[in-house]
Symmetry: C2
Subunit: 554 residues, 2 copies
């Protein structure tokens, strides 16, 4: 009997979390990858820069990997590529802006010569057994697509991030007709964006923000400084249009903003009248009512241009009373306090700050419930997998699907590494594959794990106390020290008595150890640690890391 064919959906990231989206579609021994994103670290990942998926599974099966398909150019969908492409060498497919952003990332990472192929919505490509279609959607970055992957066992549709914008700033609306056509022909499984499932109704059109921006520009008597996500090219376009409408020149500050504006203009995604874009030095010389500055920092990121301006620490721009600052973005969960701090600082410098809670200066790029329902109704898949969301969002999205008549047993809520398998006879959860987080800290990829993080956590809470002494190998007597050094624990000057007592306790402990003929250093050290830990907890109710270091001399 021949082996039964199998189609597998293998999520390596994006389930139970926001970010690091990465999904493998595998048919027998051929597979394609949809997206390769990064995530930003949780608060408890101290010192970590970014997080990428553990893609051991891909490495182990790299001979099966036919290509990487990208839905759009956001970091949570492409940010792991510079790492992944060191390990696998396969063609990459994406729309023009997506690949433009990736090329620039690759240059930064000293990676070139990737095999990149530009595709357009409605393009169809063949990779091995798969026929792949790219389908236009709306999102907060141009050139976003969903991907339909046709296999001998049926069609899988991966929405990527999407919303439905009936009045897009440029480009066309989500390809209702193609999704409907797919639904008509029959879709085996839909993987759909769950990010905004907690929001009822429809996500408003990006154009709505444009009207609000235009009004704010008209009301501004002096300079306008607008912060948004760098990659939201529509938002930048609307700000530039508002600037042109109010006879302002525009300067761009912030590395990622300068980068994206460069790429988007070069590729024709930004329509900027000749002479509008000028250097930041020139803007400073203009009368306020002729000046507009586009900047990064809408999330209150510590090193960003807007945060520097708020802290009066930007090389070029000093906020002045009369400036209008527009924060055209919502705080990403976790950033609320840093954004609030930036707003406060800007107010203190005399700016008129228009921020999120003042309605209408931002709309989401993700589908709300009614759009999610529409996607389900158009595609009417046999099976459904909610993706791109924390666990509660996946649950809510599943509940929506059930309301629309998809049987509960045809809905799979799984986790990263949890495989969904389809055969001619049906679908089921398969055995799990390796998946998880790889932490990037500086140049280190995955070299910071739980022990290092646990140490950082303890260091951050109560600091460290180091006890050093030198011991005579012959006699076991202390010949230098004990010395005590602390960092992040207490002000040494105010704690001399307590630290002197600690030295005495160390000496007593060593004496006791010698009396008891202890010769193991590990035992010495443990006893010192226990004694001091108790001493300092009694005195301070703190638990610093305690590190005894003993050196021996002849």
């Amino acid at each position: 009997m021949p082996k039964e064919h199998k189609l597998q959906i293998i999520p390596l990231g994006g389930l139970g979390e926001i970010g690091k989206n990465m999904t493998v579609i595998r048919y027998d021994n051929q597979m394609v990858l949809v997206d390769a994103g990064l995530a930003f670290p949780d608060e408890d990942m101290l010192g970590i820069d970014i997080v990428i998926p553990d893609y051991t599974y891909l490495i182990e099966h790299k001979e099966m990997l036919l290509g990487i398909l990208l839905t759009h150019g956001h970091e949570d969908h492409i940010g792991a590529l510079p790492y992944l492409l060191r390990d696998v060498d396969v063609p990459v497919f994406g729309t023009r802006l997506t690949l433009g952003i990736i090329q620039s990332k690759m240059k930064e990472n000293n990676l070139s010569n990737i095999q990149a192929t530009v595709v357009q919505p409605r393009d169809v490509i063949k990779l091995g057994v798969f026929r792949i279609e790219f389908i236009r959607v709306n999102h907060s970055i141009p050139d976003s697509v969903s991907i339909a992957i046709h296999s001998p066992l049926g069609t899988v549709v991966v929405t990527g991030d999407f919303k439905l914008d009936h009045t897009p700033v440029s480009g066309e609306i989500l390809d209702i007709h193609k999704f409907s056509e797919l639904g008509d022909k029959g879709v085996l499984c839909l993987l759909s964006d769950s990010t905004n499932v907690e929001r009822a109704g429809f996500t408003p059109s990006e154009s709505h923000v444009g009207e609000m921006i235009d009004e704010a520009f008209r009301n501004a008597k002096d300079r306008v400084i607008l912060a948004s996500f760098a990659s939201n090219v529509y938002r930048l376009q609307q700000a530039i249009t508002a600037a042109v409408n109010t006879n302002r020149k525009v300067a761009v500050v912030g590395r990622s903003m300068v980068n994206i504006v460069g790429i988007a203009e070069e590729l024709g995604y930004l329509d900027i009248p000749e002479g509008t874009l000028i250097d930041i030095d020139e803007i400073i010389g203009l009368p306020g009512n002729q000046a507009c500055i586009l900047t990064t920092g809408s999330q209150g990121e510590p090193m960003s241009a807007l945060t520097r301006m708020a802290n009066h620490d930007h090389r070029h721009v000093a906020i002045q009373p009369g400036d209008t600052v527009i924060i055209s973005a919502s705080p990403i969960p976790g950033n609320e306090k840093s954004v609030a701090k930036t707003v406060d600082q800007l107010f203190k410098l005399g700016a008129n700050v228009i921020y999120e809670s003042a309605e209408g200066m931002h709309v989401s790029g993700h589908a709300s419930q009614e759009e999610q329902k529409l996607m389900l109704s158009m595609v009417r898949p046999q099976y459904f997998m909610p993706v791109h969301g924390e666990y509660r969002m996946l649950i809510k999205h599943a509940q929506l699907a059930e309301q629309l008549g998809i049987p509960r047993e045809n809905i799979f809520i799984t986790e990263n590494g949890g495989v969904v398998e389809f055969t001619r006879h049906g679908a089921a959860l398969g055995s799990k594959v390796m998946a998880g987080k790889v932490l990037i800290d500086g140049l280190g990829i995955g070299d910071v794990g739980n022990i290092v993080l646990r140490d950082r956590k303890q260091l951050s809470q109560d600091g460290i106390l180091i006890v050093v002494m030198t011991i005579s190998r012959a006699s076991g007597a202390i010949v230098s020290g004990p010395d005590v050094v602390t960092r992040g624990f207490v002000y040494v000057r105010e704690s001399e008595t307590m630290l002197d007592e600690a030295k005495q306790k160390v000496k007593q402990t060593m004496a006791r150890c010698r009396e008891n003929r202890v010769t193991e250093w590990a035992v010495f050290k443990n006893q010192i640690r226990d004694t001091l830990s108790k001493h300092f907890y009694e005195k301070t109710r703190r638990r610093p890391v305690i590190l005894p270091i003993i050196q021996e001399v002849e």
Copy 2:
């Protein structure tokens, strides 16, 4: 010419921040204090437990202090009392529940014998030159009052936290008539709660939440576990009523919840039918549809009861499929992610979780814009000081007041320590007094300052690397070491080569120092630090704290 009399309003906390509310009202050489609150640490205050106001000014003028007046029993209004009362010994005035909570706090802090006097709304007391009235308001804890302080130069009204609840769960509505009477007679200055100034309209009634809770209890087929702020006695009452209505017994878990329920029941603020409240052990034995558990943990606090349940780590309660968990609170800014994590975990355990974004399970205890306007219109003060708010909120509240006709020059937006002075001739900003944050870490009060925090920050990001060696005093040669120890930097096992190279570099540095006849240890250490810092940054792009320790032997 006799010296001119002066009335001063001296905010020591609560301006430019949420929390640690503390305001001095001083007339010549007599003063009263309104509230003594704490704040919770910012994310960058690593390891800090709580923050209290720097009340040096009070200590320096303690002979002038006639009493402490409390508006209500929330930590941000009374949490600094156990510290302050070690340093000043003056009578404390508050309503019954407020003082009940304080007595229990004092016991915990081994402080007794405070001079506490219970007051009721509409009571009038005299302290020196001041006549003081307590005025009923609505808030998320019973027995909340505003305070009117009459002085020879006019009346100051301090609202404390307030909202207007036309249908309170128990007690009466905010004393519109008294505020109007005060306004009628003339108020010099109003200090009003700015917390919710970013919200348009009216804050809904607490009773509205009761209806939603009741419905959720009726729909629940199994146990109901409800988390809320422990001090929201109204919410607890409504949950208990819903439990009684659905024939459930109630158990209370979480230290602060047990504490408050005890106090509130004893003082008659909770109406609990005989036999309703039972022990948690007994609840576990009951059928699910007869059980209700009230718990702490609505903010996802790591050690709280609900968080432990979500992590399957609670001594008594194991979440089961079918349990309904109601989180009857909004996340305080900064807690969004930990609350979301708790919700996710509870869903994973199979609970049906009803949380904030599912509407109606929480209302704020603070006035929205329309109530703030009403307060201004009732009191119609000559001068206005927005208080209890971050800077942008104070600005917005000032703008509201201006819209209602208070002249801009009569509105004072100041900061902690910024004095507003009134004389017969008018009002002006006075010179500043000392104010600020005192950080509490374990038993240490103010012994953690910027240097310690900066060290903790650096330790938390990239850890620490310690280089130890013993040197012969006579020859200057290394007789033991250099040894390298790290914490929170890298996995040692995977980094041996890099660490060995570091030891070589230290030896080279020491040799170079000896050649150049360097004898200063500080120079040795600096050179080692610089060399290693460069070495590790090149290898890892990290900047651990580098700590060279040198010991000498004969």
